[in-house]
Amino acid sequence: MSVLRAARSRFLGLFGREHRDRDMAEEFAVHLQMETEENIRRGMPPAAARRAALLRSGGIEVAKEAYRDQRGLPRIDAVIGDLHFAARSLRRTPGFTVAAVLTLALGIAAATTVFSAAYGILLKPLPVADPSSLVALWGDNPTHQPEHFPLSGDEFDAYTRETRAFSGVAAYDYIDPWSLGARIGRSDVGDVGVSFVTGEFFHVLGAHPLLGRLLDPRDDRYGARDVGVISAAYWRHEFGGSPDVIGKTIRTEGEAIAIVGVAPPGLDFPAGTDLWKATIRDSTGRLHAFLNLIGRLKPGASLAQARGEFGAFLGRPGEPHSAARKALRVPLGPAVQPAMDVVAGEVGPTLRVVVWAVALLVLVTCVNVANMFLVRAVSRRREFAVRAALGASGGRLTQQLLVEGSVLAVAGGILGLAIASWGVRAFVALAPATIPRLEQVTMNGHVLAVSAALVIAVALVVGLLPAALGGRLSLADNLRDRGTADRGKESHRARSLLVGLQVSVAVLALVAAGLVGQSFERLTHVDLGFTPDHVLFVRMGVVGQLSPLQLLKATDAMLPRLRALPGVTHVAEMTSEPFQATGFDMAYSLPRDAGRSGIVHPWLDGMVVSPEFFEALGIRVLDGRSFTGDDRIGTPRVAVVDATFARQSWPGEDPIGRRVYALNDTFTVVGVAEPTRYRNLQAPRMTFYMPIRQAVSDGRWPRYLAIRTAADPAQVAGAVRAAIRQADARFFAAEVTPMSQQLDATTAAPRLSVVLLGLFAGAVLLLTLLGVYSIGATYARDRRFELAIRMALGAQAGQVKRLVVAQGIVVVFVGAVAGGLVAFAGAGLLHALLYGVTPRDPLTLGAAVTVVCVVALTALFVPAARAAGANPGEILREG
């Protein structure tokens, strides 16, 4: 107990120093006085009495130290003293302090912001049990178009029965959430993203409902009620987070769905889902759907095992459930991916690159501040030498530097976090809506913990680096301020190393920014094959159950109204939306394939369009004709193909009148159109157009409209919405945007990376510039006597300049070349982000190295010019 009492007492002894010091002084003084009086009583004269008493005290100052050590916790006392000292010292050099704190703040702000994004989007686990053992499965064939193949309901059931690697398997519709029209209650017509899943989906995920219940296996049995689970975000958005949402009904295009529960927040799987509903089996228990699988690996089972088992399953011939697949004749391999990767989607690679970039940025800012610190430490040589002479150990001085570094780091950290909180909000507001899990991006506990760790790391680097590299503290040399050739050499070497590192990173940054920038440039200037300007894109929604024929009749009735709107020149209907890489994939064969086995063509992108489609989008018809009103049910099926398909299928011959076998039917080619990138900006597909009136029997409803206007399409938007509503109250315009905006949304992610990497490169370049400048400046200052002497002895300005520049030039060249080599080696990492640009592009590498060298050399010229312009007489006199 006494130990605790003592500890508490000593802790308290840290506070109220001045008060306690006075008490101590008083107690000692009283003692001294009493002793003196005793001596006087014994007969000593007063002065002698006092002196004797003092001698017996045994050194009052030392006693005071011993007393203080007992009273407080000496090590912490030392740190507190260092803090006071550091604060005073930093206040005396405001320029340095402000520059250092700002630089660190920027680095920490950038790191925190990016890490918040990375955590929310990539790292934060889904609110399910053991996310790392969840794996998504589907069939793929990388050499084919399309690559991705879902499984049929029968295959899913068979695999579920047979699997040994998975403890549970469920499935979800392979098409990303269907955007369906929805009505809730009597009002509120909007659209909802619906994902169709099998009954055990939530069980396999191991998620727990926020409210109500989640789907379970009885919900997909034949005859089950249409029930659904909504996402937490949709619940907040549409129902205001009110608990009486359970039991409410959402009426969509297919059915009326009763809400039975709310999913936990952050469960964004599949991405963009507002409502999960079970796909219901038929009376024989079969599931009619095209599905991706999701499974939970058994403990001990590996991804490789799962891949092997699934691959064997897919490749097995002669099974009844794979009859459908055999007809497709596309050999499939297993695609097995951790669910977390699937959730992040295509943003994953971009984000990873940005995280690396920011890590480098933080490194560079630390290096910069360490550099500044080092320069400052060198100029405080005298002070350190004196303190060493007075008894401070090397460790003590290092501790002091560390404390100073920590003060800067903490100040930078606090400021940085403030900037970052604004930055995170800006990111969420400005980021394109297609980025998954955006609402999970916040500055939460994890992010703050990482930032705190960063601040500590920065403090250590900034504090220890100068101490480690700063050189010896020989008393005599350091007290004499005059420079000799040897002095500061070690610190100069250290600083050169640091600046060299910065130069390398600058080259890396420029290469990355350059590659991504060129890639973006190419992407935005690619030939689309159609003109998106002056085109309004409309996505329609409908509430109620209508057959495809009824839907067609209803939308047909709308067209005259739309055409009559002022400024509208063409109105077209189509079955797919642009740039989403989604659509309808068709297998086909040609008459000449007969008799030859094993021919598998890449599948076509099938589009069902109205006759005005080609004019509305500005797609040139190169040969033959486009569709007319005569192409309807009852007449032979016709198609318009694109020029690529024509060239491939009938090289050198006239494609008009040729036959194509698809959809269990025979089509005759009546026209050839220009190839477009309508479906996928980066990877064009061969397109096969079919007229609406004939294709309606396939069950496709053209829910999208393209409206060409004479003037700005945005002006007609309101009128279009109203016109659709008025024509038929069951229909509504779910989305009305200019087509050019659709294009912008597609390029949003690359644009983001260009902006971020550009900023990153700019920041690094600026910091490098400062670093190189400081090398030249400190050299010029340290050697000013020597230079003055040279000038007095007749050296020209040019020679002096060259001397100063020579200091930095080696560092710059070596750093730049090193950076270039690293960029060459590592550029492959950027591969996922680039379009039409090779990562190892020599032109970009060369340009980056050159730019960095030029900028750095320019930075050297300023101190060089200043040194050459100095008055030698003045300098020598001041020595």
Binding site: V30, M34, G58, A63
Partner: protein
Amino acid sequence: MGGGLDVQQGTLVLMVLRTLDVLGPLHGYGIGRRIEETSRHQLTLNYGTLYPALLKLEQEGYIKGEWRQSENNRRARYYALTKAGRKRLAREAEQWTRTSAIMSWFLHPEGEGA
């Protein structure tokens, strides 16, 4: 000043507690003088030894200090034994007596057979 021995920390504690036990509440100067006298001036105490020890005893709760008016009307800090201090004194005194008895058997054996 006498060929003084430097006093060891452990024994100083016992001496301080005993002094306070015998003389009652006393200030630092008084404690120091009393110890020196009792040791017949064989021990030398300086501020750096005495006061930190007094502080430690106070921190651990064996003595309690408070400011009072001294004999010649000066403000001085007086220390007094606490109950815990009394217990510690009894304990340590007993231990010390036993230890020194054992030691003396070693150092001054009484006529053991050769």
